[in-house]
């Protein structure tokens, strides 16, 4: 049997092409092994061979995600791979994002098995773990030696169509997929056992964790709103006419920040809604129904609030799909803090 053909994706840093200052390099392909590919190649052993390595700067990828993916698809296709491996990205957020984006994209386009590896707090884990296997690593590249054999073992199993074990057995991040198995005891017996433990105050592990109710403790109240800068954030999809940033009508993957300085209300001539799913007629006629600029401007002038931020932040979806909303929530929250915003009114449709 001929060897399985592997393409490996790494960023500029791991390719030895400079550090942050080179993070804007566009995609390039090199034949054979580069950087961590050496370890991977050893771990893959006789059964597979790294035929090519694709390198891209994380900033470049972040800023040109769509075109970068297309460019790299062309490069990768030339190697006619059986397997695609991305990373490990450890705790590098943008690298993790790139690995996840590339791996899921290649899996869909080329229908080949893919695998990556990241530290549990890498945002890429939450974004992509449902769609692919991501091996769990420690926080830094010091863990390379540990991570790479697990990646190799898993990707070979996937390539050969062998049964993949549980997250604990294979070392990947739990994907949230419910898989059947036969327990040695019947359900009722397990139930009684759990109840006895629970009543005794012993630890008992649920077989089906409820959706996570992630909570953040409430902040203290704003002492005096007349002295505070207030910003409006909306998930109601209000954007400038023409939707310049092309924010999606649902499951948005991005957000927009739009200037409102000098405006006394949100004019229907200048703004529209892209929110999908609901009757948009009323909001189309009057965007203030979602972004209450008219009344907040009045309040600013009356001194009811200290100041209104000169922009609002917008996206679509109330945030029930956690992944993206969390990601850009963290992102624009930083800007709000930097701009001295002291309170936020978040509106949802």
């Amino acid at each position: 049997m001929s060897k399985l053909r592997v393409v490996h994706y790494i960023n500029n840093f791991f390719a030895g092409v400079g550090g942050e200052e080179k993070a804007d390099i566009p995609p390039q392909a090199r034949d054979g092994v580069v950087g961590p590919g050496l370890a991977l190649s050893k771990a893959l052993g006789e059964e597979a061979e790294i035929v090519g390595t694709i390198i891209c700067g994380d900033s470049y990828f972040g800023e040109n995600t769509k075109s970068a993916k297309e460019e790299m698809l062309k490069l990768i296709e030339m190697y006619n791979p059986d397997i695609f491996v991305a990373g490990p990205a450890f705790n590098a957020g943008r690298y993790g994002f790139a690995c996840g984006e590339m791996a899921t994209f290649i899996e869909e386009e080329l229908q080949i098995p893919v695998v990556s590896a990241m530290y549990k707090e890498n945002p890429g884990v939450d974004m992509f773990k449902r769609d692919m296997h991501i091996i769990e690593t420690e926080i830094s590249a010091a863990d390379m030696r540990n991570a790479v054999p697990k990646m190799a073992k898993l990707v070979l199993k996937l390539a050969k169509g062998e049964e993949v074990g549980s997250p604990a057995e294979e070392g990947y991040h739990e994907r949230g997929i419910r898989v059947n198995y036969f327990h040695e005891k019947r359900g009722s017996e397990r139930g009684v056992g759990l109840l006895v433990k629970k009543m005794n105050g012993e630890e008992c592990v649920t077989e089906y964790p409820m959706p996570v109710f992630d909570r953040v403790d409430p902040l203290p109240a704003v002492a005096d709103i007349t002295k505070v800068k207030v910003a409006i954030v909306t998930s109601g999809g209000i954007v400038p006419q023409g939707n310049p940033d092309r924010i999606e009508s649902s499951s948005a993957t991005k957000y927009g920040i739009y200037d409102i300085s000098g405006m006394n209300d949100l004019s229907a001539d200048d703004f529209m809604t892209v929110h999908g799913g609901y009757d948009r007629a009323f909001v189309t006629e009057n965007p203030n129904l979602v972004v209450p600029l008219d009344v907040m401007r009045e309040m600013e002038q009356e001194g009811v609030i200290g100041e209104l931020a000169n922009y609002f932040v917008t996206t679509t979806g109330t945030g029930t799909s956690v992944g993206n909303a969390k990601g850009f929530g963290e992102h624009f929250a930083r800007k709000l803090v930097e701009d001295g915003v002291g309170a936020v009114i978040l509106t949802s449709t």
Partner: protein
């Protein structure tokens, strides 16, 4: 998003039309909106009344921001 804003240290009030969802996503200060097609106001009552409603909702939101809460709290209109 609401949690990330709060985590970043900025008190946030969620004007939400679907309060159960707001509770699920973890907002701590919640003010119910009117309805999905028009969360802040009610254009079927005419522009003047609608704006009045919007103003009162925003005022309620400011009240919520200036109120101490222990956990998730819905500030009914």
């Amino acid at each position: 998003m609401v949690k990330e804003v709060e985590r970043a240290g900025i008190p946030v009030v969620h004007l939400a039309t679907v309060v159960p969802i707001s509770l699920t996503i973890g907002a701590n200060r919640i003010v119910p909106g009117i309805g999905i097609p028009y969360p802040l106001g009610d254009p079927t009552l005419g522009e003047v009344k609608s704006k009045k409603i919007r103003r009162s909702i925003v005022e309620q939101a400011l009240t919520a921001l200036q109120t101490e809460v222990d956990g998730q709290t819905v500030f009914e209109m």
